[in-house]
């Protein structure tokens, strides 16, 4: 893998919302890369900017939001492509699975049609060939009796089946990057386990990289190869999965881990306070107002993301003291 350029390389990405007086920055100076066929986990609580990051990769940010910086995909800067060029990549080389399988399928069209649509649009398949392929894709995502399911409408399928259809659409053109934004949050645990193992299987078979976005640390620890922890639009910690969970070195990461109910009867140590609204973030380190390790210097300047071990980066001036607390 050394020397090979990363599949996706995000450099200094900021996402801003245009507001009346001055733009509101919700994601700030984000940089990370995703290598071929790896599962990269992006973790954070609601409002930290993880979903906006995903949307900006595909350039489907909501109105009034815009991005700055560079997103290289196969060495091409996605942010400087024309709309037409971007359309050829979106859904083909980079595909996305959303959280809500209930609302992301068109209720008026059969699932087969919705899969075939992608194949016709991107690969110029004939209708007949696209239909045959759609059945194969339904089989690939392990939907039983795909020949008859093909003609079903979304309301005839359960939530887990719908998410499988969403995945079938996403992998139809053999993307090299799949963005999965909270793909199992709306599903029951047993179905969640099935969908996650399906994603792992597909990424192995198809050598497809996955950007897995979730708030669930347990899922990330089981599924991802590398992890970035986001808070207030910034990466606070970035490391290989084992290193991150064995030696968490940012107070926020530790706070998240200590919030998990593990043993009975002990009192949990939640992170005090709540996430401030963008525009009301503290000076200096954005986590300083909730941090157990805060010292006056923390509010002077925002810390840089610094390397603390092999492939392990932390945005905290007190990481030496913090590392080992967990």
């Amino acid at each position: 893998m050394f020397g090979m350029p990363a599949l996706l390389d995000i450099k200094n990405l900021s996402i801003l919302f245009s507001a009346e007086q001055y733009p509101l920055k919700v994601v700030s100076g984000l940089s990370f890369d995703i290598k071929r066929a790896e599962v990269f986990g992006l973790v954070g609580e609601s409002g930290c900017g993880k979903s906006l990051t995903a949307l900006s990769i595909l350039r489907i940010l909501p109105q009034h939001a815009y991005s700055e910086g560079e997103i290289f995909f196969n060495s091409k800067n996605l942010l400087s492509l024309s709309d037409r060029e971007m359309r050829q990549i979106r859904g083909k080389d980079i595909a996305m699975v959303f959280q809500e399988p209930m609302t992301s399928l068109n209720p008026a069209l059969t699932v087969g049609y919705q899969i075939a649509e992608t194949l016709v649009a991107h690969l110029n398949f004939s209708k007949k060939k696209a239909m045959e392929n759609s059945i194969e894709l339904l089989r690939a995502v392990k939907i039983p009796s795909p020949e008859s399911r093909f003609k079903d409408y979304p309301h005839q399928l359960s939530g887990g089946m719908r998410q499988r259809v969403m995945i079938a659409i996403a992998i139809a053109c053999d993307p090299s990057l799949l963005i999965a934004d909270e793909p199992t949050t709306a599903l029951d645990v047993t179905i969640q386990a099935q969908i996650l193992s399906l994603l792992q299987e597909l990424r192995r078979e198809r050598k497809m990289a996955v950007l897995l976005i979730t708030h669930d640390l347990s899922i990330i620890s089981e599924q991802a190869d590398r992890v970035a922890i986001m808070y207030a639009g910034r990466i606070m910690e970035l490391a290989d999965v084992q290193e991150l969970f064995e030696n968490p070195s940012h107070p926020y990461t530790i706070g998240l881990l200590e919030s998990l109910p593990v043993s009975r009867g002990t009192s949990l140590k939640p992170i005090p306070g709540f996430v401030p609204a963008p525009g009301h973030l503290p000076e200096g380190c954005k986590f300083s107002d909730r941090c157990f390790a805060m010292i006056p210097e923390c509010t002077l300047a925002e810390p840089e993301l610094v390397g603390v071990a092999v492939n392990h980066y932390v945005r905290c001036i007190r990481w030496k003291e913090v590392r080992g607390v967990w």
Binding site: D188, A193, L217, E222, F245, S259, L260, S263, T266, I271
Partner: protein, 277 residues
């Protein structure tokens, strides 16, 4: 089942069947949402019901709250059948049994201030002289970790975790004996979940309140409950003391649930550590 003393709440083979309209030209069917379940909840105990969506766990909660009438079976609150409650007795029952719902965004009236939300139950049940209501509301807010600044604010000014605190304060307002918490953490972020779980623990320590915790999150159930019932397709498939169930699940469905739950890998286990603290 006994051993907790008097059955504080006894659910006796309740069923709830909903008629489902058939398609055109077909006859309707019965949806057996809850199909004959029984359990007892002891005073000052936490009884958890786990199961996947559609297993009937929320329907059980609504029957205990007397928001739904069971098709068959009966629910006894301190020995009395709740189906017989009406008038003053029903009002008293409503005071003793309170609920916290899943979605704190949907369960507060957006058009009334927090002080009105929290004083409404006190006024309806007429348990405090008018002049004392405000100080009681402030006390409730403090109990759930909010300050008196919240009084004149509206729900939209609060985050999800804060709203859930307000919902809990409302449930506590009437000093209930039983709180039914239906997925109280699902809509909240991890760090906020921990805050609310701690608040529940605090409530347990300071007041003798029984809980029925309805959840799909096995970690939360293991952390907070004394006894668990696992529901599947309207039936309880397994019921045991919480630690026993997690240590040695008996039913295949319980085993499936436990093995499906994602587990934190790599992180050092704190289970052993906690004993030394």
């Amino acid at each position: 089942m006994s051993g907790y003393g008097d059955p504080f709440l006894a659910v006796d083979s309740i069923k709830k069947h909903f008629p489902v309209k058939g398609g055109y030209g077909t006859t309707g069917k019965l949806l057996k949402a809850v199909d004959g379940i029984s359990f007892e909840v002891g005073k000052d105990h936490v009884f958890a019901i786990v199961g996947e969506s559609g297993c009937g766990k929320s329907t059980v909660a609504r029957m205990i709250l007397k928001l739904l009438r069971p098709t068959e079976g009966a629910i006894f609150f301190k020995g009395e059948n709740i189906a017989d409650f009406n008038g003053a007795r029903l009002k008293q029952f409503r005071r003793s049994v309170q609920v916290v719902f899943q979605d704190p965004f949907a369960s507060l009236n957006p058009r009334i201030r927090i002080i009105d939300t929290l004083s409404e139950p006190l006024k309806i049940h007429n348990i405090l002289p008018k002049n004392d209501i405000k100080s009681r509301v402030i006390q409730l807010l403090e109990q759930v970790g909010l300050t008196r600044d919240a009084l004149s604010r509206y729900p939209h000014e609060f985050s999800g975790g804060q709203r859930q605190r307000i919902c809990i304060a409302r449930a506590l307002a009437l000093s209930p004996e039983l709180i039914i918490a239906d997925e109280p953490l699902s809509a909240l972020d991890v760090s906020i979940q921990a805050q609310i779980l701690n608040l529940f623990q605090e409530i347990r320590k300071t007041s003798a309140i029984s809980f029925i915790l309805i959840s799909h999150d096995l970690n939360v159930v293991r952390y907070f409950s004394d006894e668990v019932a696992v529901m599947n397709l309207g039936k309880i498939v397994e019921q045991a003391k919480t630690e026993d169930l997690f240590q040695s699940p008996g039913h295949p469905y319980t085993k499936l649930l436990l093995s499906s739950a994602p587990r934190l890998k790599y992180a050092k286990s704190r289970v052993g550590e906690s004993g030394n603290r």
